[in-house]
Amino acid sequence: MKGKYRVRITAKKLQYDFVINRKYTLIRGDSATGKTSLYRMLELSRRGSTVQVSCPAECIPASALGEDWATWLKTRSDAIVFFDESDDYVTSGAFAEAAMQSDNYFVFINRDPLQSIPYSVNEIYELKSSGSMHFLQPLYEEDHSPIQPSCILTEDRRSGYTFFRKLLDGKVGFCIAASGKSNIYKVLLSDLVKDEDVLVLADGAAFGSEVGRVLDNKYVGYNKMRLCLPESFEWLLLHEKLFQKDATVRNALENTAEVVDTTYNSWEQFFYQVLRDATEGTPAYYHKDRLGRCYSEPCCVLGSPCRLQIHSSEDKVGDVLQLFDNVDFSRLLQDKPDNTKSTEA
């Protein structure tokens, strides 16, 4: 199953109209905004009532899955399954495992962080209404506030961390690896970044379970923090000029929702595969555990003829840094003779 799906649910007094973009979608927000009514209308539509559901995929309330939801999720395909707050089993590891192997889309009407589900920060919504018409509005807006970071906190300690660590080598700025998305929050509470201006870099495609509490860290204000959530680090690298002539990469970046199928549980996994495919057989072949110099240094002749080769004057790192809106890296990149503050969490 892949693609975007427009869902329209219509009854005399209530209407819903929204688009589902990816495998996992979350609906949260205040009480009494119409979430439970949405679920009830889906249930009523299956009883032959006057509720009309219009969508290219079948829209199913979880109550229709029966007790053996695991078998249903495994054997059925191409449906959008809606789970209400009362379907508490969605918080379990067993459910997450079944969902990840399922060829269906999932809509969770749930305020629990659902830490085992790799959902995107861009697919968390609240219901808004205009009269009787209800629609989805993103819960988190992209942060464009200006920042001049003094340190970078990366989600993992592999390629993303390696890239920025190398960039900051010999500079005044420093880079910290959180070693996992759930550790970012704890690092932000630690003395390592206390009173720093922190640029937090995480994979937005799977950061949905953490985004709320990381942003809520502003309540205590231990540090000035800007959360930058590109789809993934591989998504950033695919914007380098190395790939500007690769039509498959361009299509993957520009029409992601149309090409990602449910075998990928997040767009992070998809862009990883796109980058692997685009670099196969070249010196730039991508590994999460060791980032080759092709992504930050001028092209060489080692892999000649290399299909990715670009002019040696092209600024590869600059291609990546310019994707960070309103982030002034100058403070980080000032030279210093003694680079003593580079560290890991």
Binding site: K13, L14, G29, D30, S31, A32, T33, G34, T36, S37, E85, S86, D88, R111, D112, P113, S132, S182, Y185, K186, L189, G212, R213, D216, N217, K218, Y219, V220
Partner: protein, 155 residues
Amino acid sequence: MIHIRFERSPNTLIYSSDYFDVNYEREWFRDPLVQQIVEDIDHSKVISDSVIDSPVLDFIGPRDLSNGAKTLILMLKEPEHEFNGTAIGDNCGAWMIRIGKMHDITVVFRRIFHFHPLEERDVADINAICDFNGMKIDSMVDYMMAYNDYVLKTE
């Protein structure tokens, strides 16, 4: 006072909506406080014991109220439960504070509940205590300090 917990126990009333549906009492809806909850949270008016006028759904019964309104009514009428605060919206916060000043309630939050928005982080009216560490929670800053202590000791 509100007793705040960050983990469920076997006693947590996870499905407060279902519990409400089979246990509510008609006379509760004669209480002006219940009528105010229905009005504030669901923007609906209690007409009689079991009839509520909703601007969207027309005439509905108590079972058709939102999960947030049902949970607040239970907090008011049956405060002995351990309530699932994760499943109710932030717009229930003001009523939770009000009920917590009338009698003790215990609420479990598996997410950060916004009693107040960021710009009101120092407003000190929550009147709660964190059962995990005994920290007093009056403002959202206090709430976050208690939550952070919980995270650092348990994750």
